[in-house]
Amino acid sequence: MQIAVNIVVLASIYALISCGYVLIYRVSRVLNLAHGELMLLGAYLLLATSSRITPNPIVAILLAALLSVIVGILVYLLLMRKMTGESVLAAVLTTIAFGIFLRGLMTLIWSPQQFDVARLIGIANPALEIIPGARISLMSATLVVVTVIVYAVLFIFLRITRWGMRMRAAGQNPLLAAQRGIELHVVYAIAWCLSTFTGSAAGMLIAMDSRLDTTMVIIGLKAFPAALVGGLDSLLGAIFGSLIIAAAEVWVIQTINPLLADVVPFLVLIAMLLIRPWGLFGTREVLDRV
């Protein structure tokens, strides 16, 4: 039972992070390799708001989320607006460079030391026994719930609302979408701000559940195979991809070698790339958009 709970928690972490990759890729065909750093930035923003601005944890979290949305929009406006539509290589490299820049900046501001965020902002994180023999920490449970809510809202948003439809249209064919009067820059900016919002939510929750330091970036990087296994442009795929990656990782930790945990997602990724590069639920045409 405990193993099943562990898989669900890890899968939720990956799913919450990987929907950021999917959103941006689906809408603008840009792969954001700085997503791990943006996630980390969310956690550090929480640290900043709770220690500098308000001692109330809920307000601090909301404030940090708001700041991260602003960061997302700024990243698009100042950096990626120029690179969207450039070659795949240039756009990806820009995000890599931005990631390095961000990591340096964060280490410079908050130092490389480890923070116990939950204790610092005064949130208890007790272990709950939901079913006999299976424990889950409060923050992990919150994370699972948040992931479910985020995905439900995103599905509804993309399916029903006007801007959601515009985003899907822009993803399918930017030229036609622009011809129909859809403001592409606004659509892309929305994608970036949703992506950083979900990413930083993940970052805050992970930081409150365990500790916060810059090595957390690796979690962001490991969530990327989940997005790709499911299909880089499919939200539904991201859920299944996360489940597969999480199950494989937990299984390997239990049976073979805990050291292998950081490599498993990438092994699954390589296998998937060889068998079905466009992922479980992805559209095939993306392969030809070089």
């Binding site: 690179m83 240039a90 931005f98 820049f101 990724l269």
Partner: protein, 355 residues
């Protein structure tokens, strides 16, 4: 129309040819001075400066091989550090387990690199662009994991020590000796790349990068040339890794993080994509920049207490410089250099920039 364009072009070629002797007359002097400076440098420079130069030469080999793969053949690789690790670990394992001399280990490293390149390249037959970059990134993690496993298995927890290789009976320990060895290696790498570029292979690679479909219709066997690019580039990279292992006398997986791959990518971006000279300039820039930043920060009085934060500053500057070049100067340092030459040379040759 096309006739007129053609004769215009022909005229331009003739004009350019007439200018050439003038350029040639000036160039040898500059080159001669450059060669002299390079040869005299280790005799007059301080040891740490010689060490820096050695690092630059090593980085040159790695950046040239990446320029060949990414800049010329258009195959993105984010797994460069993995290949360097493959080379370094082949040396480390062969040395530790079998005590083999360098003239065995380095060729073996080259072959290992070629094999790895083949594996790294296999996905490229099905994947393009983004997906390829991702698969090389994934392979990097796999290679580094196995390196770490080897260290853990043999309980070299902090790394593997390698004694300096002996050349003609005496150990290669002195910085000055290494300087010339690595200079030679870098020069050979450069010549190899240049010759490859001027051969049909290089032209096939350029065609591949520009447009795969068109290259295929021109009768270029794409799969073969892609794999060839991966094999040659990876083999060179692994040799660079092997030399690095001997040069430092110490191998540890920590040295081959993703950050190292990014540094190499930074070299070809900053130097100028698709240009061999760019790869050299970029390597020098990327190696020297951290020293420059450190020197600049420490020269500010009272900055000693912030010394711990310098590496973070280096990270941030790195990212900022890369972004700057990607956004505002995609041609890199070579582009700037060529523009300056064009501006200040007497004849103002064509503004086109040579690859």
């Amino acid at each position: 129309m096309s006739d007129a364009g053609g004769s215009d072009k022909a005229e331009a070629v003739i004009v350019a040819r007439n200018r050439r002797p003038d350029v040639l007359r000036r160039l040898p002097l500059g080159r001669l001075i450059a060669v002299l400076v390079v040869l005299v440098f280790p005799l007059v420079a301080r040891p740490f400066q010689v060490d820096m130069a050695c690092q630059i030469f090593l980085a040159c080999i790695g950046s040239l091989s990446l320029a060949l793969l990414t800049g010329i053949a258009g195959q993105i690789s984010l797994g460069h550090a993995g290949l360097l690790a493959a080379g370094a670990f082949s040396v480390a394992i062969l040395y530790q387990e079998f005590h083999l001399p360098f003239w065995v280990t380095i060729p073996v490293a080259a072959v290992t690199g070629a094999l790895f390149g083949f594996c790294f390249g296999l996905p490229s037959l099905r994947l393009r662009g983004l997906y390829l970059a991702i698969s090389t990134l994934a392979l990097h993690f796999v290679v580094v994991y196995f390196g770490g496993e080897y260290e853990a298995m043999r309980s070299y927890s902090s790394g593997i020590v390698i004694d300096p290789p002996s050349l003609f009976g005496h150990a290669l320990q002195d910085g000055g000796a290494w300087y010339f060895v690595l200079l030679l290696a870098a020069a050979l790498a450069y010549l190899l790349c240049r010759n490859l570029l001027q051969s049909s292979t290089g032209r096939a690679w350029c065609a591949l990068r520009t447009n795969e479909t068109v290259a295929e219709t021109l009768g270029i066997p794409i799969a073969r040339y892609k794999l060839l690019a991966f094999v040659i580039s990876s083999s060179m990279t692994a040799v660079a890794g092997a030399l690095f292992a001997y040069f430092r006398g110490f191998v540890s997986v920590e040295a081959f993080s993703l950050y190292l791959s990014i540094q190499y990518i930074a070299m070809i971006i900053i130097g100028g994509m698709g240009s061999l000279r760019g790869a050299l300039l970029g390597a020098a820039f990327v190696i020297l920049m951290p020293y420059g930043i450190e020197g600049a920060v420490l020269s500010i009085p009272g900055s000693d207490q912030y010394a711990g934060g310098i590496f973070a500053l280096i990270y941030a500057t790195f990212g900022a410089v890369m972004i700057g070049f990607l956004m505002f100067e995609p041609l890199g340092l070579v582009g700037i250099w060529d523009r300056l030459i064009a501006k200040y040379s007497r004849h103002r040759p064509d503004r086109g920039i040579e690859p």
